[in-house]
């Protein structure tokens, strides 16, 4: 619904941790798929458990499988029971939630099926006082986004009373050109304000806290620049392999799957200027400025400033695992990377000369995501070189997952007669510092979408700008520069990744 601004609901004031959404019908395309079962349905169940789903809210699952409402509910119940973050599942909450879950078979190529979907939605809308609000969630492979969007338009499902929003999962295209085309297709059917591109990393409390840490404190921002910071390391490591996503992953690789979205988002949040307000476009404008300021890598740069690797068999968390090329649905002799290390520069006044190192990979020793801000050493060693032997430079580590929190490393005198300095850590732990629990990222983002707050979703220009950084790297890699390295599963990537930093007198922080 557009038009004049509506006065806020006065009764919603002061409802802490409770954000009031209007009733809506959420259509999940790909309702029988992995994302729906593992993430979306459990997240909706947990929203229901927190009483955050309004009266009248309904879910309509849409997929190619022949299911009835009841059989889909049974399937949904199984998935929720298995994957809900809150356990054990409350059977009464579950039953209540399932009462609002429906199913319809939809073949995305058949307009008639979409018209049937429209009829079903209309019936539900009338019976449940929904007022025309719709959320269309594409929990489907990216190639289907186009046809789904066009069928929604052809069947008139993108218009009418209430709001009409579409949620698209990453990856948004596979390069700049395809992302631009996808954006154009989607924007022909939905206004950009109604397009919610999900990068679930942005729904994590710790990611949002990067902005709070930087812009709600006066002590960090004055030193958050090239005068005090030596380098920034961003690590996005997973201990798991590609699981059952061989067909997708072999085409995508880590650069497209992780770096283009998660890692660059973390970089943007770390490097951005303060926005005038915590408001969707203001925040996203600042992030886009950072992405545009990243120095594009030339062919020659790619050879020196990037490392790509692929895991071979090895040991992870005490278990022997097979190599990437032995995974199902992976091409023999595949050259797809499962590890990426990059050195990027943000060419602006604040960050001139500060390298941003990004490391992302699968089958690493553990699952960890963190941003480490490494500060310069003091200009003069007052206590002498011997006393400071064990002293590392100051560092702030923003731990995104797990053990969410922030750690500040600084030097202190070891209690003894003489002078000896050692690094100590001052830790802030999310889990034990607040009296409330953090919601799961998908819960936060689904609710944001229903409320209509796109701050934590990526905008079209943001996506396209990120691809302009990735495309030259992909092009050089296709030509074999630099060559693909291998690394045993359970290690921190190929040796070339470490050498890239060693050559500059630095080393990767071990998370």
């Amino acid at each position: 619904m557009t038009g004049a601004a509506i006065a806020p609901n006065p009764l919603a004031e002061g409802l802490y941790d409770y954000r009031v959404a209007e009733p809506a019908i959420m259509v999940i395309f790909g309702a029988t798929g992995d994302l729906s079962g593992r993430k979306l349905l459990p997240a909706l169940y947990n929203l229901s458990k927190q009483r955050l789903l309004p009266a009248g809210f309904a879910v309509v699952g849409a997929a190619i499988d022949d299911l009835t409402d009841d059989s889909y509910r049974r399937r949904a119940a199984e998935k929720i029971t298995q994957f809900s973050r809150t356990q054990p599942v409350d059977q009464r909450v579950l039953q209540t939630f399932l009462d609002a879950v429906f199913y319809i078979k939809v073949d995305f190529s058949k307009l008639e099926d979409f018209k049937g979907l429209a009829r079903k939605i209309d019936e539900l809308d009338h019976a449940r006082h929904v007022g025309g609000n719709r959320v269309f969630y594409c929990a489907t492979p990216p190639p289907t986004y186009e046809i789904i969007t066009e069928q929604l338009k052809a069947s008139g499902l993108n218009a009418g009373d209430g709001y009409h929003r579409i949620v698209i999962e990453k990856p948004f295209g596979s390069d700049m050109k395809s992302a631009h085309e996808l954006n154009q297709i989607v924007q022909r059917v939905f206004h950009e304000d109604s397009v919610f591109r999900i990068d679930h990393y942005l729904g994590k409390e710790t990611v949002q806290n990067i902005m709070a840490f930087r812009f709600a404190n006066t002590i960090f921002e004055p030193v958050w620049n090239c005068h005090f910071i030596d380098s920034v390391q961003i690590t996005v490591a997973e201990e798991i392999g590609i699981e059952n996503r061989g067909a997708y992953y072999d085409k995508a690789g880590t650069l497209r799957d992780i770096v283009q979205n998660h890692a660059l988002q973390l970089l943007a949040l770390t490097a951005m200027e303060p926005s005038v307000a915590f408001e969707a476009n203001a925040v996203r404008d600042e992030k886009v400025k950072v992405l545009k300021a990243i120095r594009p890598l030339t062919d020659a740069d790619v050879a020196k400033a990037t490392v790509r690797g692929q895991y071979t068999n090895g040991w992870v968390l005490g278990e022997h695992v097979k190599g990437y090329r032995e995974e199902p649905n992976v091409a023999q002799g595949s050259l797809t990377e499962t590890f990426v290390a990059l050195r990027l520069f943000v060419d602006n006044w604040r960050w001139a000369g500060v390298p941003f190192y990004i490391r992302a990979g699968k089958r690493m020793p553990k699952r960890v995501t963190e941003i480490r801000i490494q500060f310069n050493r003091p200009p003069h060693l007052t206590f002498g070189r011997d006393a400071a032997q064990e002293l590392d430079p100051n560092a702030i580590t923003l731990r995104i997952q797990p053990e969410e929190g922030i750690s500040l490393k600084f030097g202190a005198k070891v209690p003894a007669a003489g002078i000896r300095l050692r690094s100590v850590a001052m830790d802030f732990l999310y889990a034990s510092s607040f009296l409330v629990e953090a919601p799961e990222a998908y819960e936060r983002l689904l609710l944001d979408c229903m409320i209509g707050d796109p701050t934590l979703f990526t905008r079209a220009d943001e996506v396209e700008t990120a691809w302009t950084i990735i495309d030259p790297i992909e092009a050089a890699w296709r030509d074999g520069r630099p060559p693909l390295q291998t690394y045993p599963s359970g290690t921190w990537g190929p040796a070339a990744g470490a050498k890239m930093l060693e050559a500059e007198g630095r080393e990767w922080h071990r998370p």
């Binding site: 927190q50 009464r92 034990s432 510092s433």
Partner: protein
């Protein structure tokens, strides 16, 4: 050799007839030894993490035990210093008995049935304060407070509103937490509470367990008016009814505060109010300077709820020619039972009902409609089913019954029924998940007691109470 944490209570300290200086020394020593014991031979103890000092003031042994239990429960996730003060001003001994411990925290949720290892930064200081010292609480606990984190005072019974003792105690606090359901004289205590809030320093926060218990009600009401096309309904409300748990007048505080919340949010002004027998209150508010809104509440017998807790609420009105009715009930009644023998029939139809009385009522209406339609068409149906020509044979009577899906316990069920215009009733069932005192306390402390909506609602509620 330093004691290890594998022996619970190894570090505990107790003292009888001690001074606060001795307690403070013992606490300092306790922390040093704890840090050593925690890391064993390592010479680098972990950094300390503490989110608050929680002072619980208990007037009797039962409250003292409750306070200890809840502090320990919330310490599972929230490192803190808890000071439980057993206030015994009437005892003339003039001594302090104290103990310091780090009890193993136990998850209260029975479904989890899990004992958690002692959280490293939870300290429980128990003080039995007797004689005149008990009236100088602030001076007693001030030296023990953790610097740099908020101090919350949780008064388990009825605080001595208006007394110098309370005023002095609040000087050291960031917030005062009470449970108005436990107030000994609800009417006077509530007005005293409202006065204390009105005259308190702006830095001091206030919280009430009853306000947290109202959250699901406030959320459901706000939710109803959330859609843009229902916003105009706010200007069409003409009647509000509230049922609360109690006998006679009972404890009207939550009802008054809930009405205070709505009236202050919508800018209504109180015109008159009157109390009747059976806890009945009837009041009139003026909205938009001309429209009358009738408000009524009454006490009802409702097991399972705390004193004064809301059990049902109705908001009705008309806007733009459309009538609306929002009905919310907690633990809906369960008087109806389906017949045991439903009998065989060719025309059986199941109508799913809900886990509450109203859901069954709706299902019954649908079943009746179905039965009527079946009856009207019985001849043609019989003809189609049997192939007999009309009049050749007589159809049997049909049976339509309601299938009960109610759960055995619906005490934590919040049922919302929405009627808008002529449309079917929309039914919405929600669960009230965490209503135990530990969860409510955590919720209140998380807000920190600075809730302007609560303050405003208490003031409006007090105005209504005074008018009775």
């Amino acid at each position: 050799m330093a004691p290890t944490l594998t022996a619970p209570g190894a570090l505990d300290w107790t003292g009888r007839g001690v001074t606060i200086a001795q307690v403070l020394n013992a606490l300092t020593e306790f922390r040093r030894r704890f840090a050593r014991a925690e890391v064993g031979g390592d010479d680098h103890p972990r950094p300390r993490n503490c989110v608050m000092t929680l002072i619980a003031v208990a007037a009797n042994e039962a409250d003292e035990k409750l306070a200890q239990k809840l502090c320990t429960a919330i310490a599972v996730h929230h490192p803190m210093l808890a000071i439980v003060v057993r206030d015994q001003a009437d005892v003339k001994e003039g001594l302090i008995d104290a103990s310091i411990s780090a009890p193993p925290a136990v998850v209260l949720d029975e479904s989890a049935a899990e004992t958690v290892a002692s959280p490293p930064h939870y300290e429980l200081v128990n003080l039995h304060v007797k004689g005149a010292a008990a009236t100088h609480l602030a001076g007693l606990v001030d030296p023990l407070l953790v610097s740099g984190v908020p101090t919350y005072i949780w008064w388990l019974g009825t605080p001595p509103f208006g007394s110098k003792e309370l005023r002095d105690t609040l000087q050291i606090a960031d917030a005062l937490v009470v449970d108005s359901a436990r107030f000994a004289r609800p009417y006077h205590s509530f007005l005293g509470f409202a006065d204390t809030i009105t005259h308190a320093h702006h830095r001091l926060g206030f919280a009430d367990f009853q306000w947290a218990r109202l959250d699901p009600w406030r959320e459901s009401i706000a939710q109803f008016f959330a859609p843009v096309n229902r916003r105009a309904f706010l200007s069409g409300i003409n009647e509000i009814g509230i049922d609360y748990r109690g006998v006679g007048r009972g404890n009207r505080i939550p009802s008054s505060v809930l009405i205070g919340w709505i009236s202050s949010a919508l800018g209504w002004s109180l015109q008159r109010a009157a109390g009747g027998s059976g806890g009945v209150v009837s009041a009139q508010f003026v909205a938009e300077e001309w429209r009358i809104v009738d408000v009524a509440f009454r006490s009802i017998v409702k097991p399972g709820l705390v004193e004064g807790e809301i059990s049902g609420m109705r908001i009705t009105g008309v806007s733009g020619g459309t009538t609306f009715r929002l009905s919310i009930s907690r633990a809906p009644d369960r008087s109806w039972r389906p017949p045991a023998d439903i009998g065989p029939s060719e025309f059986k139809q199941l109508h799913a009902a809900g886990d509450d009385e109203a859901g069954l009522e709706i299902a019954h209406r649908r079943a009746a409609q179905h039965r009527e339609m079946t009856f009207q068409n019985r001849d043609s149906l019989h003809h189609i089913a049997t192939g007999d020509a009309p009049g050749e044979s007589v159809p049997k009577g049909s049976t339509v019954f309601v299938r009960e899906r109610r759960n055995p316990d619906n005490s934590m069920v919040l049922l919302t029924l929405i009627n808008i215009g002529q449309a079917d009733t929309l039914r919405h069932v929600q669960r009230i998940e965490s209503n135990d005192d530990a969860s409510l306390l955590v919720k209140l402390l998380a807000i920190g007691g600075h809730d302007p909506v609560f303050t405003r609602s208490v003031a409006s509620g007090a105005e209504l109470m005074r008018a009775l």
